[in-house]
Structures are given as C-alpha cells and as structure tokens.
Symmetry: C2
Subunit: 751 residues, 2 copies
Amino acid sequence: MLASWISATVAADCGQRPFTAKAVRSRTGWRSVARAILARTAAMLAALTAICGYAAAEDGYDLWLRYEEVETRSLEAYRNAVTHLVSEGNSPSLRAARTELGRGLRGLLGSDLPVTEGVAKPGAIVIGTPRSSPLVAGLGLDLQSAGSEGYVIRSVRIDGHPATVIAANEDIGVLYGVFHFLRLMQTARPLERVDVAEAPRVRLRMLNHWDNLDRHVERGYAGASVWDWHKLPDWLDPRYTDYARANASVGINAASLTNVNANAMSLTPLYLEKAAALANVLRPYGIRVFLTARFSAPMEIGGLETADPLNAEVRRWWLDKALEIYRHIPDFGGFLVKANSEGQPGPQDYGRSHAEGANMLADAVGRHGGMVIWRAFVYSDEEPDDRAKQAYTEFVLLDGKFRDNVMVQVKNGPIDFQPREPFHPLFGAMPETPLMMEFQITKEYLGFATHLAYLAPLFEETLRADIRGEGDGATVASVVDGSLHGYVQTGMAGVSNIGTDRNWSGSHFDQANWYAFGRLAWNPQLDSAAIADEWLRMTFTNDDAFLEPVADMMMSSREAVVDYMTPLGLHHLMARGHHYGPGPWVEGGPRADWTSVYYHRATEQGVGFDRTASGSDAVSQYAPGIAAEFADRERIPEELLLWFHHAPWNYRTRSGRPLWDELVHRYTRGVEAVRGMRDTWESVGKFVDPERHEQTAVFLAIQEKEAKWWRDASIAYFQPFSRRPVPDGFEPPAHSLDYYKSLSFPYAPGN
Amino acid sequence: MLASWISATVAADCGQRPFTAKAVRSRTGWRSVARAILARTAAMLAALTAICGYAAAEDGYDLWLRYEEVETRSLEAYRNAVTHLVSEGNSPSLRAARTELGRGLRGLLGSDLPVTEGVAKPGAIVIGTPRSSPLVAGLGLDLQSAGSEGYVIRSVRIDGHPATVIAANEDIGVLYGVFHFLRLMQTARPLERVDVAEAPRVRLRMLNHWDNLDRHVERGYAGASVWDWHKLPDWLDPRYTDYARANASVGINAASLTNVNANAMSLTPLYLEKAAALANVLRPYGIRVFLTARFSAPMEIGGLETADPLNAEVRRWWLDKALEIYRHIPDFGGFLVKANSEGQPGPQDYGRSHAEGANMLADAVGRHGGMVIWRAFVYSDEEPDDRAKQAYTEFVLLDGKFRDNVMVQVKNGPIDFQPREPFHPLFGAMPETPLMMEFQITKEYLGFATHLAYLAPLFEETLRADIRGEGDGATVASVVDGSLHGYVQTGMAGVSNIGTDRNWSGSHFDQANWYAFGRLAWNPQLDSAAIADEWLRMTFTNDDAFLEPVADMMMSSREAVVDYMTPLGLHHLMARGHHYGPGPWVEGGPRADWTSVYYHRATEQGVGFDRTASGSDAVSQYAPGIAAEFADRERIPEELLLWFHHAPWNYRTRSGRPLWDELVHRYTRGVEAVRGMRDTWESVGKFVDPERHEQTAVFLAIQEKEAKWWRDASIAYFQPFSRRPVPDGFEPPAHSLDYYKSLSFPYAPGN
C-alpha cells in the first residue's frame, strides 16, 4: 500500500493525476504514516520524485502482465500466503517460471520473495515437476489429468506448514501454472484453499502472423511486424521474450511467423537461420515455430520446373527442405499452407487435390514430428458458385484422405471474418479429418485498431453453435476440441493483431482480443464475459465500480459493430481492398465475389443473398436440422436473415418494423451504442491512468465518427433501392451518396 | 545522490546491474546513511522495489534529454545556483519552456523547483522576453545580437540576489535558451558565472523526412514512419511532442514531413488536415511544417491536362492550392521539391527550366510567407555526361534567376551521400542564389542502423572545405551560412534517420547523428569532437573514463567505414537498390550510372574514375585553385584519389605501397578499426546500463561481420583486375567472388 501511495505521489509529481481509485484510497489511509516516515528527510521525497525520470508512461506495453501491487485489503492475506519460493530443478522453462514468479510477486506484493532450499515456514510456493523436484514428487499429487501441458495448483501442508504447490508433469506446465497462480492474485482471488487442476482442451493453440519479410503486416493495424528480420539472427530484440511471456501466460503454444500469402524466400537458409534464432527465444515458453510454405517454392528457390506434388523431384526437394529446416529448428512445428486460394499456387495447378498437396508436405515433415496445417479458405478463380459454398464443396469429399499429421484449418464462417457469419458448414462435416479453427484476432472487418470491439462473444457464438440442430451437445467447440469425432490432433489458430506499436495490438482494448483468443484456445468452453472480467482486472483494476460498466461495454461492443456496419446478416460491404469504411456500392473489378453487390444483391424488390434452395442452396451444406432452420425465413435467427434470404423491403421483421425501417433502426442503434461507450468510458476516467484513458477516449471518438459514416453511407446507398423514406425520428444521412462514394483512402493500413 | 542510490538499488532489485559508475560511487558513500533511514521500515524498501514495475528499460527513448541526476560533487553547487523559477508571460512556447525546465531540473536536481512571482532569494532562474516579462525587461539586457531565435543566459543580480536569466527577444528563443541552460548542467558545466549569447547562424534548420503515406520510410532504418497518417488528425501520438522537444533542444526549426519522391495525395484536403494537426503540435517548439510538392500534382489531383509551369491554369491551381494549405497551416513553411530527377516529373517535361518551375511555386506560396526549396540533386535520364557533373551543369546557368523565396538545396557531394565525397562544386558557384546544404543523417551508404558511424566529422569535413583553394576563409560553411555571398536566406537540411523504433534512430549511437546535425545547423563552425563529447555526456555519463575512449571511437568511426567500404575515393559500390552490402560487380540494368562499374572503372590497367581533363573533366567545375589540386594526382588529398583519377594498380601511394597493396591495407584497417571499437565498448561496460550496452555490442558485432564482408568481397572482386596477389600478411577473402555475388537480400530495409 505504501508503494501505491508512492506511485500515486510520483505520478502526481510527474504532472499526472493519481490514476487508480486504489491508489487514491490507500493514499488517504497511509498518508499520515508515510508522512511520518518521509519527514525524516526531505531528500527522500526529492529522491522519489527523481524516479519520475524512470517512470514509464502507461503505454500498455506490459499488457495484462502489469503485476501492479494488489489492493490494501488483500495484501496482508497474500503476504501471509506467499512468503518464500521453493523451486527445484533447472531447465529453460523452469527458469522462465521462476523468473516470472519472482517478477510477478515483486510487483503484486511489493517485495522480493526469498528463494529457499526447502519449506521452512508457512507460505511456501513450491513449483516443479515430480521429475525435477523431490519435494513435489513427495507430495504424491495425482497429475494424470494434467497431461503434458496441464498443471495443478493446490493448497497443501508440507512439514506441517501450509504451502501452495504448482506442479505439472512437464516443465512447461509449471510455467503455465505459475501464470495461473499469478492470475489468481491479479484478479483478487483468495489463496487459502486453492485447488486448481487445468489442462488444455486443444492441443495446438496458435497465432498466425500474416507478416511479410519486409515487415509489412497484411491486415495489421498495430504498426510493422515485430519480427525484425533484417537484424536477425544477431539481434534478439527483448520484445521477443515479452511476446513469448504474453503468449505463455494464456497458453498459446505455437506461432506461424510468416504470411499465409507466402514467400518462398522464408524457406531459404538465410531466413531459416533467422527463424531458428526466434525459435530459440520462444522455446522455453513452450512456443513452437511454424512457417508458411509457398507451394511453388521448389520452382522459385529450388530451381525445379514443377511443383507437382506427385513429382519425385518435388517430393525429394521437400524432404530435403524439411531435413534442412529441422537441422535449424529441431522442434519445428510444421507448415501452414494457403494453396489454390486467391491466386496462391497449389496442387490443383497440376490437377492434384488438396489432399495430395497436403500429404506430400506431411510426408516431408512427418518423420520429424511436424504437422501440416492446410487452410480450407479456398475459392475458385472462376467463381463457379456462391463463394460461401466452395470450401465445403472442395473439402468435404476429401474427408479421410489426409495423412494423420495434417489438419485442415477452417475459418469460423464461410466467407471471411465478417462481423457476423453463421458457423462454417465444414464443422461437423469432416468426421475423419481434424479441423482446426481459424479466428481472426486482427480486426480487418471490424474497424481496425480504432474501433473497440471485443471479439470473444464472436468466438464464443461460433464455438457454441449447435451444428446439428438437435441440441445433443454437438457444437463447433466439440469439433474443435476433438470430442465429437475423436480427433487426436486438435487446434485453434488466431490471426494475430500484434505489431510494433508500443501497446502491441494497436489499441489497449485490442489486447483483450489476443488474451481472449488464448484463453478460448486453451478451453473453448470458457465464457466470454468471464474472460473480459479477468482481463479487465489484470489490465486495469479490480474495482467493481470500473469493472461492471466497462465489462458491459466490452460485451456489447461487437454487436454495435454488427449494427452500424452489417446488420441482419448483410456482409462483405467494406470498401475495396483495404476494407476501411463502407463500400456497399463496390462493383466490377477482377471478380464478382470481391464486390459488395455480389453479396447484398439489393434491388427494388429487396435485399439479401438467397442461399436457400431457390438460390445458391448454401443452406444444404448444413446438417438437416440447421438447414431447415436457416432456410425458413420465419425461423432463422434474425441476425442471419439477409445472409440466407433475399427479403422484400417491406418484409415484416420480428420487431414489427418493415425490413427497411429495421435496417435504419439497427444502423442507428449501432451509432448510439458507440455514444454510450464513450459516456461509459468518460465516467470511469478516475480509475484509469491518463495515458490509456486518453488514447481510448480518442479512439472511441473516431469510432463514433466512423460508425456514423457507416450508417449514413449505408442508408444513403440502400434507400433508393427501398424507395422508402428514412423513417420518422431518424436523421437522414449527413451527406449525399456521391459524397460517400467519392471518399478514397489509398493508404489505409494493412492492405 | 540518494536518488542515485535508490535508482541503483531499484535497478539491482530489478535484476539489472547498477548501471553507472556514478551510481556505484554514490551507492558506496551513501549506503550506510540510506540504510539507517530505510531500516525504519522494511516496507519502505519493499515499496521502492515495487517501483520496478514502473522503471522503464533503458531503451533510449529519452535520447539526450535523459536529465539523470547530476553527480554528487556538482549537486550541492547546482542546488544553490538553482532554487526557484520565475517565469512571466504565457504563450505555447513559454509554457513549453517552463515545462521543460521543470522536467529537466526535477531529473537533474532530484526535486521540484518552486515557481514564484518574483525573486525572493538567491538562485532564481528568470526566463522570458522583455515583452512578456517586466522582470526581464528591467534587466536592460542587450538582446540585439540574439535576433528572433537567439538568447542570452547570464548570471545577474536581482534585488541583491544572485540569479540566472534566460532571455530572448521571442518566446522560441527562451525555449532554446532553456535547453541550453539544461545542457550546461547535463554536461557538468559550472553555473556561477554564466555568460552565454547565442543566435543561430543558419536561418532554416530542417529535417527532411523521406516518409511515405503508407509509413514506409525510404532509406529508413529505424522502423516505420513516426507519422501515423491513418489516425491523424484525431489521434496525436504523444511521440509527436517528444519529437518536437528533441528537435527544439538542438534548434531544428523546420520539418518536411513527406518523401521528396512525392505523392500528390499529400496535398489533398484529407492529408492537409492531418499535416495541420501535426503542425499544431510542433508549432510551440518553433518547428514549421513543409511538404513535398509533386510537380505533376495539378494533373494527378487537380484534373488538369498539364503541369506546365507557364500555363495559366496550372499557375492558378498552385495559387489556389497554396491558399488552401495556408488556411490549414497559417505558418506553413513551403514546398520541398525534387523535380526532373530519377524519374520525378518537373518543368523540363514542358521545356521549362528548373528556375521557371521553382518560381511558379514560389509565386504561389510567397504571398503567404512561404519558401520553395528546390533540390539540385538532378541528373538526366539520358546519362549524357558524368553524373557527378550534371547538377552543376544544369544549375550554374540559373544563378540569379530564382525568386527571392527560393533556395536551392545541394547535397554535400556531387554523387549521393557516399562515405566520402569531395564537396559539391555548386558551393561557391552560385553567388546570386541561396544554396541550402543537404546532409543525409540516415546512413543509406554507411551501414544502415547497425554500423556505428558518427557523421559529424563527415559534415564538418564538407563545411570546412576550402572552396577556392586560396585559404581566404571561403568555405562551404561560409556559403551555407550566407556570409560569403550575403545570402539573406540560409538553410541546412538533414535527411532524417527517425522512425518508430523505440530508440528513434535505429541504434543508440545513431541518435548522435541527429543531434550533431542539429548542432551544426545552428552553428556550422562547431567542432565535431566537441559535439560528440556533449552528446555522450548527455546521453551516457560525464565520467572521463567513459568519455575519452568512446569519443575517440566515435571520431574515428566514419573513417573506418570509408576504409572497409570505399577507400581512396572509390564510391557507389553498394549492392543495387537497397545499398546493403558490397556490390562492386553491379553492372547492366536500366542505366549505367546506377551501376558500380560506372564508378570504379576497374580494368587490368587500373581503377578509378578519370575526372580530369583527360576524362570527364569534372575537376573543371571547381574553382581554379581547387581544380588544379584535384587534377594533380600527386597533390590531390589521397582519400579522393580514385574519385578523380584512374590510377594503375602499381601506382605508388604516399605510404610507399603500390595502389593495390594500399587498397588491401585500407580495407583491412577498416575491419581492424571495428574490432577496436568492439574492444573499447567492451571496456566501458560498467558505465552503461545493460540494455543499451548489449544492443550496441551486438550491433558492433554485426558491423565487424559486415566490415569483413565488405573487405573480402571487394578484395575478391578487384584482385583479378589487379593481377596481383593479396599482399603478405593479409588474409585472403574468406569466400570466392562467386559466393559474394550470390548473396541476395531482397528485403533489406529502406528500399
């Protein structure tokens, strides 16, 4: 508490307002005590204020691992529960665990914890594995359910002293357990009777970096790539370690370093040496490195005339390449592949199937324990059919045709990371093939870094989706975690939102999406509201007066985006290319399914994409129970109405409003929701440091401006089709449609 | 001193070694005292260590404005000399001055200075202008020589009390004076009898940012552009203010925000609004914003069919555009223009001269007080002549033909920012036209961010160059500062090395090049060694045991680069395009003067570019005294030998060694110098925080590796021409020439 007081004093002297209620409270309580101490020497105060020079601005770099001192009322109990650390064994992961525990407790408790040889008094924290630590082994804990990555945290007695043990079968489990233990304190949980047993429900928990070798990040809104390829392998930016810590803290155990729109250069010796240097930094934190494989690499860097997966030379080339990679990176995770999609080369260039392509690569890495992750995000260059149908059409026939070390990575929905999509029909349709989930953490279609949109409700909506409509517990999550079909390999990937911005993710609240992805990859059954609460506590404060309104704001934020961008199942209406801002008028260009009019199909008769039997019949790709629901305009969840149906402008929605009026109502509701978010954020200013509060406030102002832009442009565009007026009580668009169409943003980021 | 102790303790507790000798010393002395105080409560120490959470890593973000507490022996004297602050008047610049003074003194002295209404006791610091402050006016200081940007700092008595006054005619001068005053303390100068009178000798002291709207920085090696265009004008990154502070601290008063390879979009309303927001942040710090003008903008964003500078519609368009810009930015500095150079459009596209082009733009901005800075870095697409001659040839005829508000910006040498070039022959050749110096701070040709090369000796060498060979004081500096020809307008530009890297410049020592540029722009007569000493004191420590070896290392560092890259006047031998690494073999491609063979002209007969009368006769562009010296192989400074002469391989150099042996000797000496730099840096580890020491050490290791690469590749390439062996005692190249030619770095930064 004294530290809080000092912090607050320091902050005040640095010209900042004291930045948490906690600090304010403890300041009041302890001011007189502190004064008495400090009065002894005026120089002391001077000295403390000098530390201002060292006080980092609250720039968000520390993410949710801030380890701020716990609030006064918990401190005494925590200090009793945690008095010394016993850590036997020595390995890179155990050292990382010990260092993190020391760092965390120093921040949380305000003191360094003694490290001792054995348990000498109450309050020991004992960490280790039965193999590394005789003390842990002696406790006879049942660690079977922990598996290779899980852990238990338990209040025990050792030699009569109450203690807490963090134990696992493998060293990495100890590190995960340490992060969990610290989280208990960060979120103000009691430490008296701890009984935690955790193991991940998904084996591969992975970030996909769409990072190019020139440091441009495709769909990156947080600056450049954190991988400073040019200075690797020599210069290991300390940021790499902090990246690893953050990932390990939520259990992310794999990272694909390079863009899925792949560059064969990343497989050359020059870059393998660089990737190996990164792998060395990440390894103690349990993170395996993957690379994206450009299918035509044997031609581009191998000098071959073909990349035909059945060609012997090609197969030999990949075998040799895999051998070379594993010489650099002994625990290389494998290849992530985007093939025959959006212009990328692939096996179909040679008349071979996706399975034949994937299996060739799987044979190359399989002998070294590597995986191939083959993306199902494919659609034909010839646009033969509704784009929403193509991945299913191509892949469902291949079920069971992949090697055991192949996973097929499927986006959450059938189009492309829209604010709302129905779950992808492949989930449940490939019982013989492990399907890996691909979520997008970076907000390509949800307002980039400046719109506050907490994505866990989107992830949760997909994961909890009932895939058969029979209420039998068959959900997308049950596919992803392998329980439904008995997949051995399971995985979840998130397209990273990480860049060189000081706050990592482009905005402070976008950090929550990285966090939430990791937590849901560990356990797809987790609740998005609980994750928000957890993240807010770690990132800001445990004060309920802050938590309640801000958690509400987060939980409703994604729905606001849906409302002001693409309500009622509208989708893919963003401006061309960079996807910044509205573009419902986008048409023409290289292919129809890269336009907006392809998706909304607005006419004077109505709006929406008929995907029932009278249209593209995409509904038939779902299980009968779901297909029947989606095909029925009266039964379909209304938020998906225009995804599957072309409805007349006067269609009576469930609110009783005609479709046009309902659209205007929802667009407007979205803007109003953002105004409410701004009010909420303004009201909690006293709980947040000025730097993070200010940036978030400015970003929310941008979001409101852009939400209104979306609303107004959309209404201006659709209104003439509807031949209906903007309903009474609703503002007309601020500008003409021509104005909105005239806006141009050629350098919007991420393109 | 206590603060130092605490800092050291905090650092130690954070797992860092105490990071300055100063800290160690004061720690020893004060440990017992501090112990006695701290023993009163164990919680206090705990509280202090908790501040670790706030202690920023020493990442270099603070540049030379670290304001670390001064060392023990000076502290008492400083505290007596500086007891309170009297600041009358209120303007954005005065507020900035007051804030900076408070911030600086808080760090340097470890306490907040009281701000009082008048001088009440000894030790007042009085800041202001006679207009803003009656107190300053009452002192009757002679401020005439201070002009509009200068200042005086003087020890005075006010009401019988010793005080220090920082006074200027204008508010910005007060800010500059405050930075100077703080620098006195940062560099451990006495404050008893201060008598400083400073005024800049150059009017326009400018950074040229080669920053694109997509945040790519051409020739940028410090990450992306600091200008986050997408989030402007709403989000004003606090970094913009720190950028302004750093520039003001060295007197830089102008910034061209956009790349000279210009984009017309930067002149559209969307981007003008963004530039205006930046201008608002920079204005209190005395920095005027310039933009680059793409000559064809009237066609690209104006819808005209021509950009002919004599066309009435074109002239009208620029007039209107200027009016629009000045509505956004009332103190807009003007346009920086690269025209008819390297593919950029320009007046010659319409048969008009550079002067006609420049004057049209000058007419547009002139009525608002704006300038046009027209770059002389031009060379024809048709390669009619030695590229080194073309700028002179084109511009010397235009002398006197430019409007009064046009300056011609000339690179330091006639080719392109090579490690060494002779001074540009235009200096001295255009007495009727103000010539602005263009230096390159970013190290496009000197090893990017990872090679330590202190550039002030290069700048100084150019500025001090005798342009007539008559020893009459006619130097490049006397042209640039206007004294030789009586220019009213004077200016110096530096191509910025600033990016989003946390340390701003890509490496810690590259900060010195930004600093030195600013100091030399303020006063081109300054001494590069004195600047290095000043910068080292502010950035690291005042300890002589650190300063002497490290200043020596800096001062010799650029010569080391010359040695291992391009000794004896060789030039432009870098790899194609990105210029990373050696490429003496580069030939072919779009134009001869973008190859290496064009410049080195190696044959079995010899090497070097004959620019005497028997060759391109570029020497004749210099004044007779200089031309005669350069044309004479025996008199020319040997470091320029192969710039002007094609010499046989057995040519006897001044060392007595044949040319080939001398080249090998110098290449090798360069590598050895870097080894020496590594040793030096290793030996001063105890004076430097571990973070900055480690990064610098790793970069020096990269530099040694790459220096050897340069040496070996160059020797491997030239040796067959020379038909001579590598001399005895010198290592042969580590690899074959084919190996060096095979290396490829398509994603080297900055391209």
